[in-house]
């Protein structure tokens, strides 16, 4: 009976205790590495922010036009703050990976390995999305101003459509980069984009035939109500 109890209860518990005792230092090491990462991340963020301000990085980017591009893209923070923040987070993230690896779990290691291989794609996808966002805002504003100056009443709608198409395109490219439903995404984009163009053609064709006729008549016969103001 004693033997049975020892094999069924005591031995597994002993084994668990031994494993825990073996694993505890790893957990402790992992937590310590992660905490060190957080501290280092915060310190580096602070130091780099001071450094960027000392070298007047914002002014440098202002001159290059990048700051203007980011502001147009809706970014409110200064570039030095954003860069310092990115450095801080990359440090913390790097230490998180180190801390997970220090656990010596084969399953975790495998996941980390595949994640690390995937990371460049995530990075490129993020860049594509960022560029798409900034470009979308820029071209949308250009379309808005040009449409207003041309006197199109639907200037706002045109600007929104331009932005939507560019965002859709960048999202498609980002998802393709991530390898998520590659064919499906491209086909879906082609259908949506084609649909939008077709709908617009129909809308302009049916709804705008009078405007088109009026426009052509004005071009051919001349506009009786034209301005003769010479601006220069």
């Amino acid at each position: 009976m004693d033997n049975f109890l020892e094999r069924v209860i005591i031995e597994p518990f002993d084994s668990l205790r031994e494993r825990l005792l073996q694993f505890l230092p790893d957990i402790l090491t992992s937590v310590l590495i992660f905490m060190a990462g957080i501290v280092l991340g915060v310190v580096l963020k602070f130091l780099f922010l001071r450094f960027f301000r000392a070298i007047n990085l914002d002014r440098l980017f202002e001159r290059s036009g990048l700051l203007e591009m980011m502001q147009k893209g809706g970014m409110k923070d200064r570039l030095s703050v954003i860069l310092a923040r990115v450095i801080g987070w990359v440090t913390i993230f790097g230490f998180l990976i180190l801390s997970l690896r220090s656990l010596n779990f084969p399953a975790v290691e495998r996941i980390l390995e595949s994640f690390l291989f995937y990371l460049p794609r995530v990075f490129i996808a993020a860049i594509i999305l960022f560029v798409g966002y900034v470009l979308g805002n820029f071209l949308s504003r250009a379309a808005l101003i040009a449409s207003v100056n041309a006197g199109f009443r639907m200037a706002g709608l045109i600007a929104k459509l331009v932005k939507l198409i560019i965002l859709l395109l960048s999202m498609t490219m980002a998802l393709e980069q991530l390898g998520i439903g590659r064919e499906t995404i491209i086909i879906a984009f082609a259908i949506i984009f084609g649909g939008v163009v077709f709908a617009l053609s129909l809308a302009f064709g049916l709804g705008g035939k009078d405007i088109a006729r009026e426009y052509l008549e004005k071009r051919m016969k001349g506009d009786d109500n034209k301005d003769e103001i010479n601006h220069l």
């Binding site: 202002e62 036009g65 203007e68 147009k72 820029f138 504003r141 250009a142 808005l144 101003i145 040009a146 449409s147 207003v148 100056n149 006197g151 009443r153 200037a155 706002g156 600007a159 109500n225 034209k226 301005d227 003769e228 103001i229 010479n230 601006h231 220069l232």
Partner: protein, 419 residues
Amino acid sequence: MDSILLRPDIRDKLNEITEADILVGIPSYNNARTIGHVVRAVQAGMAKYFPDKKTVLVNSDGGSTDGTTDVVQATAVEDFQSILLHHRVSPVFKIATPYHGIPGKGSAFRTIFEIAGALNVKACAVVDSDLRSITPEWIELLIKPVVEGGFDYVSPLYHRHKYDGTITNSIVYPVTRALYGKRIRQPIGGDFGFSGALAKFYLTKDVWETDVARYGIDVWMTTTAVANNFRVCQAFLGAKIHDPKDPGSDLSAMLFQVVGATFDLMETYYETWKMIRESEDVPTFGFQYAVGLEPVSVNLNRMVEKFRLGIKELIDIWKVFIPGDIIAFLQKTGDSQKSEFRIPDEVWGKIVYSFAIAAHKKLLNKEHLLKSLTPLYIGRVASFVMETWESNAVEVEEKIENLCNNFEKGKKLLLDNWS
């Protein structure tokens, strides 16, 4: 960009002429219909007023396809007696050549400056190729102040229809006068006289890849002359009547180039204009008289509608750099009845200065910023048209004078917000 002087045909022509006293340049692009009259007036002016001088006429063409350069080559004054000329005159040399560089009036002028420099001329003039009111006296009035008066730059002074030259009247004249302190009434008139030395000075500037190469050339020439302390005067030329601009020409692009060049010059000459507190008259030559002008059609409804569309769609862009009280006023104006529609001088001055400050601080992409000015400018022109509907030329001039005074008073706001 290669210099025009490297072209063998131009080199041969310059070798043939060697040196000259006076050069008149005519920039052109598809002006076959009007350029013949301009060439005749220039030739007659040279023959009548400078018979003993060696003179050159340069047509700098932008690749016309309607035979403009052929018209220039074929045109000559056949009957000198009609201009009361009986004595022997030196021949007028003629050069008609396509210019190099960015398509635009500025590039055409650059070619004229280069030829003037190569021929070491004493005095130059440039006149537009679409003029219908040019007479031989224009050449005398643009050249003589340089040759005999020792001036370096002669700006034109015309009688124009009250709704002609609205960018000049509402932006360029008030701004340049307030900034540089010289009351040059037509700073972008298009027809100027200048010394050979000033032509050479223009060539030393590296601006030929900017908006100066396009519509920005006129304000650049005037401002460069004033800001660098060249001796400046005005000459009264009478009426300015010219072919209407191509209806396809884009107002916002024109505004972008002219206002963009004006704002760029503010950067270049900040040290000069920040010191100037008030404006003064410049010497004016020519016998002034009243002239009849052709009527100008104005579509007020369309202008007000464009302004309202701008208020509806672009107000968020303007909020970034236009003060809140002006934004509130613009919104109220956008909602008002057409009969109550007004953009007063003080408001317009603050708007223009806000755009200048925004361009200086690079708050927005420059092209977006300046093109977004178009609906506001159209609104201001509509307001001006309504205010001066019944006014005669003298009353209109008084209105423009008031506007200029407002710009001069408002300069402090510009200076306070510049740095």
